[in-house]
Symmetry: C2
Subunit: 377 residues, 2 copies
């Protein structure tokens, strides 16, 4: 029997770490999961087949970018974002809020919404909770994010309080604006780096019954340690029976620590963006393909990786492609980094299921941060 | 029984057009064939798997570029160009001559060879026939091109005469410098746009018994009509039992006309380079993906094409990728254009074999140049 869309199955729990499955109109996905960022209806340099091959379950699209170009009405007319970009599995779209607050020019925020100028051509635009929902539903997203106010870091307590209250009012309006039953709305918890604020926001956001909840407002310039200090106390307070999504985070180490606090879903531009700059994630840490010592290195990026890049190409070749500015270098590096992230999630799921999460976490901390756990054994 | 390398089988002939098969150390390929240009050990934006999928049989590498970066000794150390770029089928390399004469700075030509400065960093380099052969053999090329002098257009008769004579002396030296039996040397006929000069050069070049012969010195700035005026008389004078390679040519129309004169092999940057600029070859002619009328067009680039790009993506999506400067746009356009060129060759081979070459040629001339043949039927 097929689970109804919006259902989250909690398959296993190991300490705070969770292994689950979420059902959407375009199929289910296994959690913890990392969503590849496909800003402008493409994950840069990857075909949908590449994405599937490297284990991608969900692609994230950016409402702000797609609204400005090519426009959601055009995408809707062409059958929706899935068909437009030829991706048949689940799609999550953000609300546009984050980009409006970080990219757009000349913002004017009112209770009604945000007036801003396009970073592309300076044209005036307006996004409200209702408009954001309309855009995301036109795109045909499986998971729609509530329109929230994103404060930059640092912010005063008064700013945070006002922003949380507005975000809550906007959530209620977002919820009321939902018209497609296939689209699943996630609410976003704000509140900066203060646990009490976060709890307050959480209680506001969870007062609306939604299929999932996200933590927003991290990865906005604060020292990442502050987030990790907060997550172990905050995440367990989020509803048990709903997926928990940590927005815009992060490095492999960030992901492991966040899963350890009970997070189920991630998205981040890191693996794809740094790949284009020649930075590679491996099971032995992060390396730059530019390094002179790789000049004649016949070995793969990561001897522990079995991806198509590591199976077929040497570090010497990838270094050559990078130094020559060849597109294929970006493609092969991106493929590897995404595969690495997807494998990290796959192994996390398997260890949580087997009850060996702690061992895997310690293995990752040793590998990625050089932390020695041998003394305690 | 496997044919020895360097053997050319003439499978069929229809008027002057030829259908053949050439055997190399990395397997055979069917002619007429178009070789994809992989200048710096990569066909821009294409994985070797992509190249195979779109029907590529031979990849061309550029000696000048690979000599400067990463260097042939490094590639040799890593197992040769095939292994370096993970391409298992035949590779042809040019001699470096064309780039030395077109790209490099401060050239000094002597009987010994050419002294020049790298276009990358201004460092001094020297290439002679012997050096070019050494580089190409270090790369592990299946087909090695003789080191020739490339005149720019226009040139005086005296310049052409001197250049042909030097090219011939350099061919003899190139031939003597060959040390690997797996490497097959092709000689290059020069002589500008004058049939008598071309005949003279042809007799010089064919005085050395080689597995294949090429026509160089076209596509160097002359009106292309002049080449097409010459080919019907020149090409049939080339040896019947050897492959005939027209270097650096051309558009789909150029290929059809050259096959009609008896050419077997081509290479050109056109399909890949223009793809990155949004120009698409179709069975109805050339189009630009930028066109405003494609904004909401749900149809494929070419309704008569069954490539992965045309099967999976709309013109509207490809236009969006192009306008957004997305890498995937270049990849998908390149894939389509190469597939189109390979299909053109495949259909040419099939029609020559069936004895319907003339019908296919007229079909192509009608489609690509709007020429009406109906009156004569």
């Amino acid at each position: 029997m097929k689970s109804p869309i919006g259902t989250f199955e909690l398959i296993a729990k190991n300490e705070k770490a969770r292994r689950g499955r979420f059902h959407t109109h375009h199929g289910s996905f296994e959690t913890p999961t990392f969503m590849a960022v496909g800003t402008k209806a493409t994950v840069k340099g990857m075909t949908p087949q590449d994405l599937e091959n490297c284990g991608t379950q969900v692609v994230l699209g950016n409402t702000y970018h797609l609204h400005l170009r090519p426009g959601e009405k055009l995408i809707q007319k062409l059958g929706g974002l899935h068909k437009f970009m030829n991706w048949k599995k689940p799609i999550l779209t953000d609300s546009g809020g984050f980009q409006v607050f970080s990219l757009a020019g000349l913002r004017q925020i009112t209770e009604e919404g945000v007036q801003f100028k396009s970073h592309l051509d300076g044209t005036a635009h307006f996004i409200s909770p209702e408009k954001s929902m309309e855009i995301q539903m036109d795109l045909g997203s499986d998971i729609v994010m509530a329109f929230d106010e994103c404060l930059s870091y640092p912010a005063t307590n008064e700013q945070i309080q006002n922003s949380m209250d507005r975000t809550h009012r906007w959530l209620v309006r977002s919820h009321q604006a939902m018209t497609r039953t296939q689209a699943l709305l996630f609410g976003i918890v704000q509140g900066g780096l203060n646990l009490e604020f976060r709890k307050y926001s959480l209680s506001q956001v969870t007062s609306v019954d939604l299929p999932g909840y996200a933590l927003g407002g991290f990865s906005v310039g604060e020292p990442i340690e502050l987030m990790h200090h907060l997550l172990p106390d905050l995440v367990p307070l989020m509803p048990q029976n709903k997926p928990r999504y940590l927005m815009g985070v992060g490095t492999p180490l960030d992901l492991i620590l966040a899963i350890d606090s009970g997070i189920d879903m991630f998205d981040c531009v890191i693996p794809t963006r740094v790949a284009r700059n020649g930075t590679i994630y491996t099971w032995s840490g992060k390396v730059s393909i530019k390094r002179a010592e790789y000049k004649e290195d016949p070995g793969p990026l990561d001897p522990e990786c079995d991806c198509a890049t590591c199976t077929n190409y040497s570090k010497a070749y990838l270094r050559h492609l990078f130094l020559s500015g060849e597109m294929l270098g970006s493609q092969l590096n991106t493929y590897h980094n995404l595969y690495f992230y997807m494998q990290l999630m796959k192994r996390a799921r398997s260890h949580i299921e087997k009850g060996t999460w702690r061992e895997f976490k310690e293995f990752c901390l040793t590998r990625f941060a050089g932390i020695d756990f041998t003394g305690k054994k």
